[in-house]
Symmetry: C2
Subunit: 375 residues, 2 copies
Amino acid sequence: MTARRPTVYDVAERAKVSIATVSFAFTRPDQISATTRERVLGIAREIGYMPSASARGLARGKTGALGLHSFDLLIERPQTREPVDPVGEAGGAAPDPGASFVPWDDAGDEFLADPRAFPLYVDEVQRGFELECRANGRPIMLSSGSGTTTSVAESAGRVDGLAIFPGPSAATTLAQVSLKMPIVLFSTPPGEDGHHRVLADNAGGMRELVTHLVTDHGITSLGFVGALRVADYRERFEAFRETLTDLGVAAPDEPLDDSLLGEDLGYTAVIEALRAGTLPRALVCASDQLALPLLDLFAAEGVRVPDDVVVTGFDGIFAGRLSTPSLTTVRQPMEAMGRTAARLLMDSSRSPSAEPAVVRLGTKLVVRASCGCAA
Amino acid sequence: MTARRPTVYDVAERAKVSIATVSFAFTRPDQISATTRERVLGIAREIGYMPSASARGLARGKTGALGLHSFDLLIERPQTREPVDPVGEAGGAAPDPGASFVPWDDAGDEFLADPRAFPLYVDEVQRGFELECRANGRPIMLSSGSGTTTSVAESAGRVDGLAIFPGPSAATTLAQVSLKMPIVLFSTPPGEDGHHRVLADNAGGMRELVTHLVTDHGITSLGFVGALRVADYRERFEAFRETLTDLGVAAPDEPLDDSLLGEDLGYTAVIEALRAGTLPRALVCASDQLALPLLDLFAAEGVRVPDDVVVTGFDGIFAGRLSTPSLTTVRQPMEAMGRTAARLLMDSSRSPSAEPAVVRLGTKLVVRASCGCAA
DNA sequence: TTGTACGCGTTATCAC
DNA sequence: GTGATAACGCGTACAA
């Protein structure tokens, strides 16, 4: 079954033409006579020939694909169990002869797909990227990897342009690799590296949010939750402070709690403040993913949100609609960000001259229950 | 900036070694002396060299990547507006010099990310595929395309194995292309084409659902909504009939309504029955995506669900949790299906001898409000 | 341990 | 309109 894949030579031989003709039949249909074209195409289909993208990419100098690389900021939840083994015994009522049957496993489908785990910030951006590429017939190369230079490089070798979700280790790694192709960095402040940027208007969004809390709710005691190591969070914190100052409200010099996603989500500082009775009236979290577990924590501790303390997020992921109370947040236009990145890549691989672009996308305040607005 | 991408020759020249040594430095680090290796690696990093995946794939005969191809069954919603143009004027409060600012646009972010549009069946399967590939350090090639043979072929040339979401046109197209690599077909009944299969236990799930409706709710009048052109739907309908027959309930010979996703979602037959007052007590939909708009329709018509008519779905997508009433359905283990496909591909590219596998994965009945169970 | 030379499957540039 | 043939960049026997 898995014979060698047919090549142009195979087709050429059986069609009694040269390999050039075979190639033309596919790429320049009007340069050869209709009859030979039909014959060649027929043979090709018959023997299951399809051009090798590797060879084509090598010859043409470009692959046609766009890449999306994640410096592991999306934390793979520990797999508690062995992945499904398809070669297992045929249990259950397997109707297909020779089929293996894998029984339902609650653990394998966390809580019937936990919205806290799946459609996250990156997933929605990725989707936008995919949609735009799809609309333009561009294949997408998805890759991920941590610190090592090679992981980026490896995927970079397969594509004509690369969009990157930066992680903590991204900065140093990217600095080493001076990638010779168009690059878009998501959620990274402008810099001198010549790469494009696509990011949300963190400052504007945070300003709207804080203004809402202060002006509409009359809150004058606010704390920030989030680590400043993340560039987006840093921008949000800065805007948090500036807005408070502008509104004449005391602004903290630093975050109340710098719990970081995936590392320690202990909220130790929050808990400490809770015990000490020094919790601010509102906790402004740097992201939804930081805010949602905090809601759990407060629920477990008997602290009522928003009555005892107001909690807000940032990003606008799905899970924020389902939490109790639902989460007041700032929505990033994630799909648009993904689309923008893809277009940037396609444009600049067409005209490599262009200056590196920095695109900020506007955000939107989404008022829900956790600030005390909705029921 | 975008000079030619450096090659092994560039590195070799500057490092005063041969290209073989450069290659070894990357692929067989222990075959060469530490000093030369360091020197080579240093130069490589310095000039921004990265191996070309095209050339490597060509030389090695395999690319290392796995593919996921969608025959456009995921319907791209028509883009009502022009995609975001990053080169737009710098409006708003753009803090970055030279940056473009794209204001928030409600239309560009449908209803703050509509769960009806995004995490669908295919998205969750894709996610499983991604997770498994990521865990094994395998890049993923995402592609999509309709009828034409070339679209599958094109992506097929880039990967060592291909998982496929079949669409209406898939069968004929795939028959023409006898792809010479491991292939996994999702949600496709077993066949003689030598491809692997990964699908849900449609029959078991439907049996559970129908039994619940008949036994627990005492319903004896049921109709099926869904077109039999879709293989999954066909299996579900068959099980629907068989279960009813087994339970001694009259089973319809054919679906009440064969609205098909993306084509006409008119539910003409349902509406007709509604007008005529001949609506069955329960409408069993072939999928959630078929059931949810039906809920809308009934709401608009003043028909109460589940009081006047019971509606159920199949798949267990997110949106079914958010609808009013929430949707009783059968959950497919989509992440597990994606993971299984990836493993199948990796295993069979290692040992091409293996028989084509058929893996059925168990489903789970999810009882919610639309059948009258939950409040 | 390192260098030489060939092959991988296409595309593209020439001749014919 | 069609056929030789030279790149394309890398892996790898084989030789040194």
